[in-house]
């Protein structure tokens, strides 16, 4: 798994590239003046807005099209390709990230809805080259086969354990219900999560 000790900041590059001349519209993000409607929005191309968000502890400011999903932003703009997209329809969970601590499907969330929020992706769990204990648990317990669903499984499990550090088996099954695994690694995924109980 590629790791980054100090993540490069592709956000800055994108920022410069896409924003070019200043941030005239920045203050208007998230605001719609009392009489304003779309056409009267400040000097940004129609259908785009400025987005401020924090990904894995690092702030980014970008200029995005309204239709951009959070998954597209993370992968294509910011280079966090650990987040996978399988269905792109909110049905499988591979794209799960934490948004202000809550698990969401990044493929089914508009990037602009992350404005002012904290995003945590699987890359953000690592400490340098060192796997997060939950990632290590998936390795130790064979909680994966092909591995495609794994980043999403890990992020959903992280959200579950933050909310409930001592989940029962039923809690795990309910908490992980939004993450499909086409390889059927479910028993081992549950085992990996169970091994984290009390160990955090």
């Amino acid at each position: 798994m590629p790791t980054r000790d100090k993540p490069v900041d592709p956000g800055r590059r994108t920022f410069i590239k896409t924003l070019g001349v200043g941030v005239a519209g920045a203050t208007a993000v998230g605001a719609m003046g009392p009489e304003a409607d779309a056409e009267e929005s400040p000097a940004l191309p129609a259908g785009t807005q400025i987005l401020d968000l924090t990904v894995n502890g690092k702030r980014h400011r970008l200029h995005v099209e309204s239709r951009t999903t959070l998954a597209e932003l993370l992968r294509d703009e910011l280079g966090f390709t650990g987040t996978k997209v399988a269905c792109n329809r909110g049905m499988c969970g591979t794209c799960t990230v934490l948004l202000d601590g809550l698990a969401v499907y990044s493929c089914h969330t508009l990037a602009l809805d992350a404005h002012g929020k904290q995003v945590l992706t699987v890359e953000g769990l690592m400490k340098g080259e060192e796997l997060h204990p939950l990632q290590q648990a998936f390795v130790d317990h064979d909680g994966l086969q092909c591995g495609y669903c794994t980043p999403g499984q890990v992020m959903a499990a992280e959200a579950l354990l933050r909310e409930n550090p001592e989940p029962s088996r039923a809690d795990i099954e309910a908490g992980m219900a939004g993450n499909l695994c086409r390889c059927g690694a479910y028993p081992k995924i549950i085992e990996s999560i169970e091994s984290m109980k009390g160990g955090r």
Binding site: A38, Q49, S66, T69, G90, V104, T109, L112, A174, G178
Partner: protein, 326 residues
């Protein structure tokens, strides 16, 4: 997904004004709307992000004047985690907890849950221009209709997909609808529209109207309620059928109650026959078959969904037996 202008009102007033002025679609969590946009089933020029409105009215759950007021932006996860709901409005707490997946419940709002579009596979497939999308045929009649309705159908045969709507119907809730500066209350039974009235929409919401919340009358002390959902797989699934049961019980005997059904009709279905058959059951009197037989009067299953009738009746029996013991 086609691009659109994302309107971000700061408050309800701005939102209401913008919706009167523009043909924008409202977005709550977007868990349904994004699917419609990605599949090109909806292609609005403007989308209004209701979440950008800061009003507490939209985001809080409040007990006041013998009513529970729930804001339209309250998420399904918040409903599922609320102790007041768990205690007194159990059917709604259970319905919210049974919907979708943890990730979708974190994003999905109550307003969006009530206003979500149907799951009929012909409706969701851009290749089929069916009645509900302005075409002239219902493909489900001669096509695959395992998950379609058994009552209330024609000329379109969807089932309403919302879990919380069924619970709210059994609780006698009202939907708070806003247009411009005015808010009105609509009994939830009148909020949803049968296809015989208009096959192209599921709710009464007209231009510029949107949901700001719901109000639920406080149940009595002896009221017990539950939501029982049948899914084809455990992970996540829309209700194949579901039963919302709200009843008053004294000395182990049902005094009266309401049965609402999901997955059987194009709207959340208030079952009058089943509701009337509840009174008196309990103790030695276990007329469960009479109760079950009274449900879904006049059902007319389609070619592939006859199974829903006995399934619903058995599920309702199970729900009743379990609730009698609670």
């Amino acid at each position: 997904m086609r691009n659109f202008t994302y309107l971000q009102p700061e408050n309800l007033k701005q939102a209401a004004k913008a919706l009167e002025k523009n043909e924008a679609m409202v977005m709550g969590g977007g868990t349904d709307l994004l699917d419609l946009l990605k599949m090109d089933i909806a292609a609005p020029e403007q989308v209004l992000n209701l979440k950008s409105a800061g009003d507490a009215e939209l985001r809080t759950i409040e007990e006041k004047d013998d009513k529970l007021r729930i804001g339209g932006l309250v998420t399904l996860a918040e409903l599922a985690a609320d102790d007041r709901l768990r205690r007194s409005y159990t059917v709604l707490q259970e319905a919210a907890a049974a919907a979708a997946t943890p990730q979708l419940r974190n994003a999905g709002t109550l307003g969006g849950n009530l206003c979500q579009r149907p799951r009929c596979w012909y409706f969701r497939d851009p290749e089929f221009s069916c009645l509900r999308k302005g075409g002239d045929t219902c493909f489900a009649i001669d096509g695959r209709n395992k998950f379609h309705c058994v009552v209330g159908g024609g000329p379109c045969y969807i089932v309403h997909p919302s879990d919380t709507a069924v619970a709210l119907l059994a609780l006698g809730a009202e939907v708070r609808v806003r247009k411009g500066g005015k808010t009105r209350s609509v009994p939830i039974g009148e909020f949803f529209v049968l296809p015989e009235v208009d096959p192209q929409r599921e709710t009464i919401l007209g231009d510029g109207e949107f949901v700001v919340g719901v109000e639920v009358p406080a149940p009595g002390r002896d009221t017990r309620s539950s939501y029982t959902k049948f899914k084809f797989r455990e992970g996540w699934d829309f209700a194949v059928v579901s039963v919302a049961l709200v009843m008053d019980k004294a000395g182990g005997i049902v005094r009266g109650g309401t049965v609402a059904l999901g997955g059987v009709a194009p709207v959340p279905w208030l079952d009058a026959g089943g509701s009337a058959a509840l009174a008196g059951i309990g103790g030695q009197d276990r007329r469960l078959d009479a109760f079950a037989g009274a449900l879904l009067a006049g059902a007319e299953p389609m070619t592939e969904n006859e199974f829903k009738v006995p399934l619903t009746r058995n599920l309702a029996k199970r729900a009743l037996v379990e609730l009698l013991d609670r």
